[in-house]
């Protein structure tokens, strides 16, 4: 007999129709479709160089997408992840020369702090997550711009050795991609094998019932926001290491890409269903689209037009029948 895993999609009736099979696995089909299309347009899309490039693009987006997954599983939303990533990128870029690798644990702590503030406002004071994180977004985005003096600043050439290791090629792919895969694995374990992860899904699926069953909803929700902000901070650090500079606008369109990835993975926006593994496939799709369009010579300004449409379509397909309720909590 198969085992069940939280947030997984095992509730499959025997002898299901091909249609429901298609719907259930649509996240894989869409990834395959996107990759095939760009491969046909330009066969070098799947060259080693291109794959290295794609995985390098994927690396910072993965922790952000997996992080916001936790908040979405509870049925809330975090609009601030792009801004948090920008702030983390700026702080890292400006200070890595002075503090060296200590910047990484410092940024993790930064993420924890932001997450606890956002999460407490949502879970303890019971403000809508939409409003709390919209305000947080405004604050951190402005902070990133102020700190960086309004524009990007490169890390001095002399100090580049501090950040270059992250882009080194290990087993054919960039090191930072392997680190991100490790983060995906960690998220998967949290989702499937910890009380925290299981409680997060229970809250998203039915908060009232979870609370009466003894789940500590306040603590669990706060933790979900914390994981999310930590993911965003890691993403920001990786952008700084990857771009070798502090870029205050880096996160602006990353929120859209992260949330599109999660939606393409079939995460239910009303909460209670989703998986980091599926988000990984969603990130592959999203990055393939942006890189593929880039290689096909499309102006990158079109990216967000595409992701806007992708997000709508993905949510429409994945919504639970009957409950098309998007973020309301």
């Amino acid at each position: 007999m198969q085992n069940t895993k939280t947030g997984d999609f095992r509730n499959v009736p025997e002898g299901e129709s091909w249609r429901s099979f298609l719907y259930r696995n649509i996240y894989i089909f869409s990834a395959v479709l996107v990759v095939s299309v760009f491969y046909i347009i330009n066969p070098s899309f799947l060259s080693l160089y291109s794959i290295q490039n794609i995985t390098r693009e994927m690396a910072p987006l993965l922790p952000m997408a997996c992080g916001i997954g936790f908040v979405l599983y509870t049925g809330c939303i975090d609009l601030s992840i792009g801004a948090v990533a920008s702030a983390a990128c700026v702080i890292t870029g400006l200070n890595v020369a002075d503090v060296g690798h200590w910047i990484i644990p410092m940024m993790l702590a930064f993420g924890v702090l932001i997450g606890i503030v956002n999460g407490s406002l949502v879970s303890r004071i019971k403000l809508p997550s939409f409003i709390v994180t919209l305000c947080a977004q405004s604050v951190y985005r402005a902070a990133a711009i102020v700190l960086s003096g309004g524009g990007s600043q490169n890390i001095a050439l002399k100090q580049r050795y501090l950040v270059n290791w992250m882009s080194a090629i290990v087993f054919g792919l960039p090191l930072m991609f392997w680190i991100s895969l490790g983060i995906v694995l960690a998220c998967l374990i949290i989702e499937r094998n910890t009380k925290l992860g299981k409680s997060i899904f229970a809250i998203g699926a039915n908060e009232k019932a979870a609370r009466l069953a003894g789940v500590d909803t306040v603590r669990t929700k706060t933790m979900a926001f914390m994981l999310c902000a930590v993911g965003a901070a890691i993403g920001g650090v990786m952008y700084a290491y990857k771009l070798k500079s502090s870029v205050p606008a880096i996160g602006d369109d990353k929120f859209m890409m992260a949330i599109s990835s999660v939606a393409l993975g079939g995460t239910l926006f009303s909460g209670g269903r989703g998986s980091a593994l599926r988000t990984l496939v969603g990130v592959i799709t999203v990055i393939s689209i942006s890189s593929g369009m880039n290689m096909a010579g499309v102006d990158p300004l079109w990216n967000n037009v595409v992701f806007g449409i992708v997000l709508i379509v993905a949510v429409a397909i994945n919504s639970e029948k009957g409950i098309r309720d998007l973020i309301i909590k």
Binding site: M1, T4, P13, K195, S199, A205, A209, R211, A213, D216
Partner: protein
């Protein structure tokens, strides 16, 4: 009274899934008649009114109004044909004014070129309110600024206005417990209005838990029990005692509730409630729960018994008083705290508060005790599934496998999953809030047997029964609550259950 028949139902029935809540209802309402519906909670009274008002559709049966077939598609449709309902829960929109509420959905009468003539609407509302004798309510007042009684009167005004517009004094007004929030003076006004409506030839169906009122205002009374119509009584010459008897009706045998295995409670007090109060709900409640005991809490809805359990299960915070678990004083900030102290509840509203619908059975069972299946800090899903399969077997839950979504299970099986959850939590004190509500007969028997099993093992149960019969049948002792106060206590040994009529008298 007129003998002309206004409205009839023929063999009306309603089922939700496998669950029959109403069957074989044949009522007859004459013109200018006030008819009472009485029965215990869940007897099907409100369901029948909702069907008549077009809110719900009957599963079987037909209705006739004015001799013509009547099958309203919606409440609006019923309104147009002269039937209007005043709901138990108020349906006014609190941020609109009184006039806006009365004419909600009928603004067209006051509009020209898409703009509403508010002064004309307010004037019409003034007239309607005056007709009801509500001279001191301003049509421009916002509903949220009115007290509950006034809102109720506005609600009634609204319904009357809607139906009298079309019905020409052949209206049927449905009142579902309209008096629960009214003071005596307000009730007198309401009754006077109801009588005036009657004089003009309109008919009224009236539901109330207060039998005195029913006797005071109605001409004829239908008694409902377990979704059936069990008696019809002419009010003239009837008294409360006769009604009690008809309501309680059926005597069940001890076998149904597995009384043979009813435990004699031990001497150890596991839970003690001392002088507990919750402002606006109950006052100075004190009782003790012993090891291996089933303690029943009886009372009509709104007697405060639900909130007493809410406080004990950590869902609500009491305003004063003490709670002791095994002699130790406790204060719960959340149901999680209560669970850690060994108290967990089976909630009343299974869909909304019980099951976590989109998650599989296995997750639903382990949610109250994840630690049980953990080793080295990580939860093993294999162990969690094995554990769930054991529960599925021992409670004979019918399902395709533990990976099945709980929302796909029938009411009885879903309820057993909740029982598996609370038993899996290993909490020795269980609060069962209507544990057999919406559960089919077979599963009911299983649940009663299960309650016997766990009390034999030394668990203690605080029970709020779905019916009085069940509460007395299952409990070893019952406490009766009325209007927020404990007003009586009965021992219920297996061979000598108290008379239901005595208990009902205290409840009402």
């Amino acid at each position: 009274m007129n003998q002309e028949i206004l409205f009839t139902t023929e063999n009306i029935g309603k089922t939700y899934g496998v669950n029959t809540v109403l069957q074989g209802i044949n009522v007859e309402i004459r013109r200018g008649e006030i008819v009472g519906l009485i029965g215990e909670n869940g007897a099907g009274k409100s369901t029948l009114l909702k069907i008549i008002a077009g809110v719900e559709q009957p599963t079987v049966g037909t209705m006739e109004m004015n001799g013509k077939p009547f099958s309203p598609a919606s409440m609006l449709d019923a309104n147009r044909q002269g039937i209007g309902m005043v709901f138990q829960e108020q349906s006014l929109i609190s941020n609109l004014t009184v006039a806006q509420n009365i004419y909600l959905g009928r603004e067209r009468d006051f509009s020209s070129f898409g703009l509403i003539n508010w002064s004309r609407m307010n004037a019409r509302a003034r007239e309607a309110l005056n007709k009801m004798g509500l001279k001191d309510i301003s049509p421009k007042a916002r509903v949220r600024d009115l007290d509950f009684a006034m809102r109720q009167m506005v609600e009634i005004t609204k319904v009357l206005d809607i139906v009298s517009e079309t019905a020409n004094n052949r209206a049927l007004i449905l009142l579902d417990e309209p008096t629960t929030v009214l003071s005596d003076a307000e009730m007198a006004v309401l009754f006077e209005k109801v009588r005036q409506m009657k004089e003009k030839g309109n008919s009224v169906i009236f539901i109330s838990h207060r039998l005195q009122e029913v006797l005071q205002i109605t001409d004829r009374i239908y008694v409902f029990k377990d979704g059936r119509q069990t008696a019809e009584v002419r009010t003239e010459g009837a008294d409360e005692y006769i009604l009690y008897e008809k309501m309680v009706g059926r005597e069940t045998n001890g076998e149904y509730y597995v009384s043979a295995r009813q435990t004699v409670p031990g001497a150890d007090v596991v839970l003690e409630v001392e002088n507990m109060s919750l402002f606006g709900s109950f006052r100075n409640v004190s009782f003790k729960l012993h090891k291996g005991e089933v303690l029943g809490l009886c009372g009509v809805e709104g007697s405060g018994k639900e909130d007493v359990c809410g406080v004990i299960s950590g869902d609500l915070a009491s305003t004063s008083g003490e709670l002791k678990v095994r002699g130790k004083r406790v204060k719960f900030a959340s149901p999680g705290d209560a669970r850690r102290a060994g108290i967990i509840s089976v909630p009343r509203d299974r869909r909304d508060e019980g099951i976590i619908g989109i998650l599989p059975i296995s997750e639903n069972i382990s949610v109250s005790n994840y630690e049980k299946n953990a080793a080295h800090g990580l939860i093993s899903n294999r162990r969690q599934d094995r554990n769930a399969r054991e529960w599925v077997r021992s409670l004979s839950i019918k399902c395709a496998g533990v990976a099945q979504r709980v929302s796909n299970l029938s009411g009885g099986n879903a309820q057993k999953v909740i029982f598996a959850r609370v038993l899996d939590s290993e909490c020795p004190i269980l609060i069962l809030d209507h544990p057999t509500r919406g559960v089919d007969l077979g599963a009911k028997g299983d649940i009663y047997a299960l309650i016997r099993d766990i009390t034999e093992k030394g668990f203690s149960v605080l029970l709020m029964g779905d019916t009085l019969d069940e509460c007395l049948g299952v409990s070893s002792r019952v406490i009766v609550m009325k209007d927020g106060l404990v007003c009586g206590e009965f021992d219920c040994p297996a061979d000598n259950k108290p008379d239901q009529v005595d208990v009902v008298k205290l409840m009402l």
